[in-house]
Symmetry: C2
Subunit: 406 residues, 2 copies
């Protein structure tokens, strides 16, 4: 097993290669913003600009510029700014509503709208971070407006998003909604004190997120009733281990912010260790994309495929859990997941990771980016892991239970 | 290679096993209609009733009852009638519109609506056939109302279906739309003379379908502009070989109805032989789910998976092409596809076919039915193939080019 410092170096080098890939291939010098539909070698195979991907890449570039000295390069900030300006200019469907498109043409005309809160979420994330990196308040003000809209929709009526109300459709909460509410609140709270509205939003997200822990915390369900009860059928039994682990490290951040040891322990047990135990393919390695809480076969065709983002979020969650309370098994889990991800997903020839492997671990789609894969999960996971490894290496004392080979 | 009569016997036996599976496991004696979410052994894992699947199973049962003597059993017709009555009672979203739900609760309350024409399409198909099987005109009248609504939406404004109009979204036609228009017209025309409205609808569907043949008939694109031009990006390059072949046998029926030899030859070359050539996996066998006309990697995660319905439609298309004009290579292709399908998809232990295999041909989802797989493609393909094989065997003369081993 590689040491912490070896992992730190490997991860830092991989982050450099990843950002180099996106800087080389994804920028649109004509209209600003980013192409995300990139072939293995970076060729643009579709010019559609996906709003999630715009906001996420603005976040990654701005965050790297602001927090990692070797990325403090003016061209990175300028690309982020061009992306942010593209979103401000083009993303909204009308000037009098915060609703934004899901996909835009290269020059910024709306192609598709989702009836969810996620496009606005990633606009907000990107612009808040861009405001921090540039020091320009107007970006953060725009972000806050979107954040409050998302929180309003999350608490309110789905009809505002254009979803029909149907008598047979039970009211439901998707795990992603409290997750993004919590993530946005934590983003806006970073380095801030006295922002009571965002503190309340973070608590709301954390509390609603806990409703997805069911059966005595033994399972994490993607959809529950607004009161936190199980829903019938496949929808109600659906689990997404990587998603649960992403929720885990977000909740752990809230627990640390609140100094709530009980919440922290619950996040690690139910949202990090549990989903890894239940979601890891014992035969071929890697986290499954979906599982059914009662052991039925999921109906998602990709249920047994290995998706890049799930492995990336698992790396973050396991290292965050270890940083929270160092126990040797957490570090061993991190090393196992990271080794699998580096072995199977990275492309040493062209940079960035493949996104979609078969159950057996073969590359199923050769694309490096698409409608749902851009410059985000790999870069964010590597950045967060590098930060956490750096922090662990700088701790004065060795961990109470030094890792040992199994 | 098995002879035609061996295939006829094998296919007839498989049809019996398939219908036995659905009769044993899918009926809801309480509310009528059919469960389609069935595990490998037939266990219901979700009670949601999908409207496509209701209409399709009503069609299969009614058609078998009406046209195949060994299926002329009262209980089969009663199950079809209970399904048809369930649709008439529950499928519509409101009494004053032909729009129906996509999914219903077990007791018939709407769960989900699609902004497409397909739920209404399958209500119409099922009820027209139920009307034929029972001799009750009211079912056929209800079907015709839905048929005319589908044709109206196909020619008219997508906004009637609730789709937003977005300035960056180019107007487009999906292959499925002219296909279902043609299929519905042919269904209503069966055994009918003098129905000029349906003859016009069939011609409209056939003409619009031909717009998807592009690049000198070398490719069949899933989406084109309403004027029949290629659309940009992945959407514009998307191909679905099984879908093209399904369109092929429908168009061949129109060509035979019109006595249009040129149209028939074009259907066989461009919609049957072309998609098989381009869509067959040379390494593992089976038709791919999706391909990109320029050779890029499709963005659909399941692009390289082998789906049951594509192989079933290919069997029908190849046999229909051979029946249209007997050439040895068409029969060899049929035998190759049917051998692959029987080897890989059928489940001799519990009946019916698996739906979803990995690229390599392993069962990826063990379910026998789900939101998009019910009692339809397997049963219809087996029924149509049995009919065509019977017809071929009864021809007085041997085919001009008798099949020979390669």
């Amino acid at each position: 097993m590689a040491s912490l410092s070896e992992w730190r170096d490997r991860i830092a080098a991989e982050l450099d290669a990843t950002i180099a890939f996106w800087e080389r291939h994804s920028h649109d010098p004509q209209h600003g913003g980013f192409f995300s539909c990139l072939s293995r070698d970076g060729t643009v195979y579709d010019e559609t600009k996906y709003v999630w991907m715009q906001g996420r890449q603005v976040w990654v570039y701005s965050r790297l510029y602001r927090t990692v000295p070797r990325f403090r390069r003016p061209e990175l900030l300028e690309a982020a700014r061009a992306g942010g300006e593209f979103l401000l200019r083009c993303a909204r469907l009308s000037p009098d509503s915060p609703r934004v498109a899901f996909a835009l043409t290269r020059d910024g005309r709306p192609v598709r709208v989702q009836r969810t809160v996620f496009s606005e979420t990633f606009c907000a994330m990107g612009l808040d971070e861009l405001g921090r990196a540039t020091g320009e308040q107007r970006y953060r003000a725009a972000a806050r407006e979107w954040v409050l809209a998302v929180w309003g929709w999350a608490r309110g009526d789905a009809r505002e998003l254009g979803r029909p109300e149907l008598s047979g459709a039970p009211p439901q909460q998707a795990l992603a909604v409290p997750m993004v509410v919590l993530a946005l609140a934590l983003q806006l709270l970073e380095g801030a004190g006295g922002d009571e509205e965002m503190e309340a939003m973070a608590d709301w997200g954390g509390q609603r997120l806990l409703l997805h822990l069911q059966r005595g915390d033994a399972v994490v369900l993607e959809h529950v009733s607004p009161e936190g009860r199980e829903l019938p059928g496949s929808l109600g039994r659906l689990m997404n281990p990587g998603h649960a682990m992403e929720a885990g490290w977000l909740l752990l951040r809230l627990a640390e912010r609140r100094g709530d040891a009980g919440l922290g322990a619950r996040a690690v047990a139910a949202l990090v260790e549990g989903p890894l135990r239940g979601g890891w393919d014992p035969q071929h390695g890697g986290l499954f994309a979906f599982l059914d809480a009662d052991g039925h076969c999921p109906t998602q065709l990709e249920w047994s495929m290995k998706l890049w983002w799930a492995q990336a979020e698992a790396m973050v969650a396991l290292l965050a859990a270890y940083a929270h309370r160092p126990r040797a098994r957490l570090l061993r889990h991190f090393q196992r997941v990271a080794t699998y991800a580096f072995d199977k997903f990275r492309d040493p020839e062209h940079g960035e990771w493949f996104g979609y492997l078969s159950r057996e671990g073969n590359v199923a789609l050769t694309i490096k980016g698409g409608p749902f894969k851009g410059c985000f999960h790999v870069a964010r996971a590597l950045l967060l892991c590098e930060e956490m490894l750096e922090g662990l290496l700088q701790r004065d004392e060795p961990p109470p239970h030094p890792p040992s080979p199994q």
